[in-house]
């Protein structure tokens, strides 16, 4: 371990703000890149199900009408 104690580790010899700021931005970028496609997938699935239901309903009403 390069550092003597955990507080030393956080302080980073006075440069703590910079180091941890940089690493948190990195974390944010990583999180964005992982979460963004997952969110899109959820939206896609929801949209797909909605379209499927809509087409089923249309199909049924068409069949009902032609059955008359």
């Amino acid at each position: 371990m390069y550092f003597d104690s955990f507080t030393d580790f956080i302080a980073m010899g006075g440069h703590g703000l910079y180091v941890w700021l940089a690493y948190s931005i990195a974390l944010a970028v990583i999180a964005f890149n992982v979460l963004s496609p997952m969110l899109r997938k959820k939206q896609f699935v929801a949209e797909y199900q909605r379209r499927l239901k809509r087409e089923q309903r249309l199909g049924e009403s068409n069949r009902a009408r032609s059955a008359e």
Partner: protein
């Protein structure tokens, strides 16, 4: 026109969106595990165990993010251009989707490289920003990414948008060496200081080994995220296909 060179069979198989979707699904867990291993190892090593730099102190540790982000931002653009070229030459849809997925990932990595570069600069030279060759080139790369992304989102038709984006990416990739050269020349012209962020002439193995691991980890991360995005893009574009319907119904 289309098949000017003979490519191996798997190359053509990639042209099937369904096959690409499935193979990426199989590869994802492996890449994800490898990425997590590499990144956690590299982070712990770099943050806690590697020695601090003699001159820069502990702010030096930002290198373990800055350099991988910069390398990946550049590799991603090249991949985007290559994928665009493949989609134009072989008319391969999947290549198109890969290229489109690269743009936001590359842009975010360029932003990360710039932000960490600026944060690193503050304790090192006292200012948040310097117009040196590296950072300026990275800024221009970010502009190129934003251009491709904006072009994609501005064109309604997905196929046309892909083609236009591919052309722009290719023009950009040809321009990158020219831009780099001219920015470096401009930098020597206005030479203020000769500092470069990462060129410490000698880096001890205890310093560059965690860096290497982080670079590999970032490549892994990039592959994972690219596959995630491309799979969604495939689903989106192929939403009318039968296999997508079966997949959705199985959900």
């Amino acid at each position: 026109m289309a098949n000017t060179w003979k490519m191996p069979a798997w190359f053509y198989r990639l042209g099937s969106p369904r096959w690409s979707f499935e193979i990426m699904g199989k590869l994802l867990p492996w890449f994800a595990v490898a990425t997590l291993a590499l990144l956690s190892c590299g982070l712990v090593w770099g943050l806690a165990f590697a020695p601090a730099d003699y001159q820069q102190g502990n702010s030096f540790r930002i290198i373990y993010i800055h350099v991988p982000a910069a390398i990946l931002a550049q590799s991603c653009y090249i991949l985007m251009a290559v994928a665009g070229a493949i989609s134009l030459i072989w008319k391969m849809k999947v290549a198109d989707m890969v290229a489109k997925s690269c743009a936001p990932i590359g842009a975010s990595l360029a932003v990360l490289a710039l932000a960490t570069g600026a944060i690193w600069g503050k304790p090192t030279w006292g200012t948040w920003w310097v117009w040196d060759a590296r950072l300026t080139s990275m800024l221009i790369l970010l502009f190129l990414y934003i251009g491709v992304y904006t072009l994609h989102s501005a064109i309604e038709n997905e196929v046309t948008a892909g083609k236009a984006g591919a052309v722009l990416a290719l023009v950009g990739v040809v321009n990158i060496p020219i831009i780099k050269y001219s920015v470096e020349w401009w930098n020597t012209l206005h030479q203020g200081s000769t500092f470069t962020l990462t060129e410490s002439p000698k880096m001890a193995p205890e310093m560059w080994m965690p860096l290497l691991i982080m670079v590999l980890g970032f490549y892994g991360f990039f592959s994972v995220v690219l596959m995630l995005r491309t799979r969604i893009e495939i689903l989106q574009r192929e939403r009318r296909a039968g296999w997508v319907k079966e997949l959705m119904e199985a959900h």
